[in-house]
Amino acid sequence: MRRGSLVEGIKRVIVREEYCMGCRLCEIHCITQHSKSKNILKLFKGEEPKPLSGIYFEERGPTSFALQCRHCDDAPCLEACIGGAMYRDPITKRVLHNREKCVGCWMCIMVCPYGVIKADHSEKKVASKCDLCIEAGFPACVENCPNEAVILIDQYGRRVLKEG
């Protein structure tokens, strides 16, 4: 296991479905982390607009898991974006999304084979996706998963833990 900064190399959040209990805390913490207040109580007591979570939570019978942007090496959304809104962060190598440049054409939704980009209709219509919470230091979904089902891995498939 590695402890380290999120800054070097492509990382992705994955879920080990055999450990997922379906509590959906990952979604709640994702929404909180991307809200204005970043406070779970204020947020759920009425902060508007609430951000979309960067997670698709899937559940059927005993199987459940969270799915978010893979930050692909060869990301089709980067090629499909007609506005140059989807871009690769030169330092962290994340696939990020510039809401101001997005026109809501949904080409990214058409080409993402993981189906993890959402259409956000809250203000102007824009796409919405996982940003790996780099500004906060560590992905909120990983940090708050009570059963370590949601984990962070590096480009070699090695698990990355939070520093400290």
Partner: protein, 430 residues
Amino acid sequence: MESKYAIIGNSVAAVGAIEAIREIDKEGLITVVSDENVYNYSRPLISYYLGGKVEERNMYFRDKGFYERNNVKLILGKKAQRLDVNKHVVYLADETIIRFEKLLICTGGKPIVPNIEGLSEVREGVFSFTKFSDAKSMLSYIKLNGIKSAVVLGGGLIGLKAAEGLLARGLRVTIVELADRILPNTLDKEASEMLERALVGLGCSVLKGDTIIGVSTTDGVLKEVYLKSGRVIPSSLLVIAIGVRPNLDLIRGTSIGYDRGIIVDDQMQTNIAGIYAAGDVAQAKDFLTSMNSVLALWPVAFRQGKVAGFNMAGKETKYEGLFPMNSVEIAGIPTISFGLSNPQDGENYEVLVKKDGRVPLYRKIVLKDGRIVGGIFLGKIERTGIFVGLLKAGMDVSSFKEELLQDDFGFVVLPESYRKHMIVGEVIET
């Protein structure tokens, strides 16, 4: 001048190629030539600009430093006039000579102009709609002359997006489409009708099974439009949007092989070594038919440009072929179509449909031999990419096909091995 790489055209295929070349070769000079005097703007955004939804500063899909950072010499506002394939030389209109080792032709498409009586006498009021300058001159024409209504010839993507932009500017718009429905090439009848109802709801008139046979002018300014049906529409603005064809001007008279577009192999190379083509001008492998076809689509152009760029810089890369796919929002209704979305020889296909005309919502998946070959998603489009991915993967979906149109469809219903391969991949616990 000498340039290791020459790129003719400056749209998305060119940008894809520049980025690919610079991944491999940081040094070799790249020269880009464009007859347009403008930076790398996004062509699909011109309708958003027309409608006032995107400002000029957001028309550019790469930042201002893009060319400098990538060591690209940019020659704007000059047409590449002639190509000598034996000497590897491009001659520009002003006699500038560019000697290249590798050439990429990505000259895009030219709007098709139909035979309309009186059209040659029009000095003002008729526009095509493929370039930034088209949108700008149309806007200033509207403002200067207080134009209140417009006719759009062509109910395809370009025509509909132009109509939407004009509606947003408060014009009364009439769309004239020769087929019996709008978007005849990408949608089926059901989906076309849903979008048509939405457009009509915005105050747009849609005339189908009709076309324009003549126009009249006053002092060179468009005055009336005459339809085949006998109808006469008074209008001082006509947008011609019946399609584009590959712009082959540069290669005519050379030994470069072409059919509808420039024929390329699976490395995007033409029949002449060292000369490549990509984007709307190229006729390349089609994933679904294994034939060569021209697919004038943004993501296709980017991918082709990127593959060409890698091969030009010496990294052998194969173009796997793509298929028709488009995502567009018309009258507030998002619509994605991909692959064989409306097969004509119906008996060879199985079609799954879910619809609700009131919302509107329409979801259609076309299967052949248990595999997804196309689809239409209208109204609710999230996660459509999963289906496009299943098409590319060639996965047999027959064991779970009744799940495909369920609201909660996702990886959870896919076979466990495929799901884990897709969503987890390799994890090494160390």
